[in-house]
Point group: C2
Chain length 340, copies 2
């Protein structure tokens, strides 16, 4: 986070050596403290020029406050884990959670954000899964207390929180390149989504670093099992020319592996596969799948913290994009290209 970030409750708490809850409750008037402690907190508030956020105080004032959470599909293990993490954090703070799935229904995203603007919830954590023509961004900017997670809504000027997709693509590309792969199939989601683009850019960066000729064949469609199956069939139909496949979500990997298995294409014997997400039980696949692991729970926890800490009155702080680190989990699905 940049040094221009406004002082948060946490900054005050750290400086005063107390918990965030303590500072919050002091400001709410719901806590008696020893004079020395109160003075320490007051001093921190003055020194750090902390401006209590009336919205944050309202959000912390008890059970009736509700946070909205909008995700594409609750049954998807990635989003289920994200929802679980947000709910746990919300519960710690006495906030209720109102949950909505957009699935692929047009207009749903806009109607949920609009409900926020009408005060049905006190803040919204929002995960989109398809490109925006600008309408959603406009509605988000008007609604105000929204944090965007996992996928971008370009032109929405609210705090944003993503996994480090570019670094994830880089780690995947480097792992494949380290094993000697130079022709790789990249299976991504919709091509306009930042997750798709950034993972590709990272993959490309890793291959360019080698200083040798390379080729990336791009199949971009959707983060679904069915698209993984289609990609597998296309790979086979096009002659299985690449030696490595970067399947950039668990769902894509599941569909891909299903078809490769069914068609007798051996992994990593004939083709290496590396995945992305690592939420599902990839370690029990045949072979156990190497994958880039997303910090899903951290995304959920941090999303709620951002929602509560952000000073919505301060426009500069709204233009923030935070990236959480990913890591590679090496298993058994990547090997050097076989001689054919």
């Amino acid at each position: 986070m940049s040094s221009k970030r406004a002082t948060s409750l946490k900054d005050v708490a750290d400086a005063a050596g107390v918990s965030v809850a303590t500072v919050s409750r002091l400001l709410n008037g719901s806590l008696q403290l020893p004079p020395e402690t109160k003075e320490r907190i007051d001093k921190a508030i003055r020194d750090l020029r902390y401006e209590p956020n009336p919205h944050a105080r309202r959000l912390s004032r008890g059970r009736s406050e509700t946070i909205g959470l909008v995700v594409p599909d609750i049954a998807n293990p990635f989003f289920a884990t994200l929802v679980a993490a947000v709910e746990q954090e919300a519960d710690k703070r006495g906030l209720a959670l109102s949950l909505h799935a957009t699935l692929n229904r047009p207009g749903r995203e806009i109607s949920y954000v609009t409900a926020l603007a009408r005060n049905h919830v006190d803040g919204l954590i929002f995960v989109t899964n398809h490109p925006d023509d600008g309408e959603l961004a406009a509605v988000i900017n008007q609604a105000g207390k929204v944090v965007i997670v996992d996928e971008d809504v370009p032109n929405a000027i609210v705090p944003k929180l993503f996994a480090d997709n570019e670094e994830g693509g880089y780690l995947a590309g480097r792992h494949l390149a380290d094993h000697g792969h130079r022709h790789i199939v990249y299976i991504g989601g919709p091509q306009e989504m930042i997750s798709t683009r950034r993972r590709f850019l990272g993959l490309e960066r890793a291959l360019m670093e080698r200083g040798e000729p390379f080729q990336v064949t791009r199949y971009e469609g959707s983060f679904t099992v069915e698209f993984g199956r289609q990609a597998a069939r296309r790979f086979i139909d096009e002659g299985k020319q690449a030696t490595g496949i970067f399947a950039s979500s668990d769902e894509i990997a599941i569909g891909l592996i299903e078809v490769l298995l069914a068609e007798g294409v051996s992994v990593p014997g004939e083709v290496s596969v590396i995945g992305f997400d690592d939420v599902g039980p990839l370690h029990l696949f045949a072979p156990p799948l190497t994958a880039i692991r997303q910090p899903v729970r951290a995304l959920g926890e941090r999303a709620l913290a951002l929602l509560l800490e952000t000073n919505w009155q301060e426009p500069e702080t709204l233009r923030s994009e935070e990236l959480l680190p990913v890591e590679i989990v090496v298993r058994n699905s990547v090997a050097p290209p076989s001689k054919q």
Copy 2:
């Protein structure tokens, strides 16, 4: 459902040849209808002696109505799928969903049900995951508008909805017995939970049907990956005497398979394994896992329908237990016992 069931909105709609939504909106006063249609509906109401449920009407009256949903763990794929199905049904009816996870925190279940009684939500769908000493049942009976799903709370007198656990255990037992197994390890959840007991009873019924001697070794603990690992280690430590294992949830199966794989115990070569749930990608395991599939989405959809249709004024209808059918999905993890 028994013939003593009170007339529902759907009965009236069917008799009048219109949709449930039409009848509902007519009763709400929010719809103008042609006189003939209105008369048909009125006649159906009279003939069937339909008593409009003031609670149901309130529940169907628009976006501000909120249903509570309490599950043990949202990240667990079974519950994630259940939540997704409930959310979809709620959304169709213009209801918001307030979601809570109890995890293993004592007192959480009681506090969420109590919040319902204080009118924070208009109805509650409740999934427990541990035995009750009676306190939870008392609170549920007092709260009123609660539907219990998946696991029982004994002595709670509200509509209950479960998968047909006994039939599931029977299908698993019969599949193992058909392949010649007579000594089986049963890995279940907490021993007092009806899912654990009924799946065992079904398993036992299938084995008794053979009319031959049989043995079931019971490891009962929790529906967790860690318990599956412990069970695998115990099976190995006790000399791998059984020839078949019934791992009665996806999590248990994952832990079991992890350890069997790590210890070089071949499935189904040395021991056959059959699972229960089939929410995860069991078809990609090594070997693809045979399992009893739970009707998870149907449980979620039916739970909400029950919540809305139940006549909470009519005590007889509260004592209902509905079972949804399960099915066996045959894959590759069960074979005849090998000669050792």
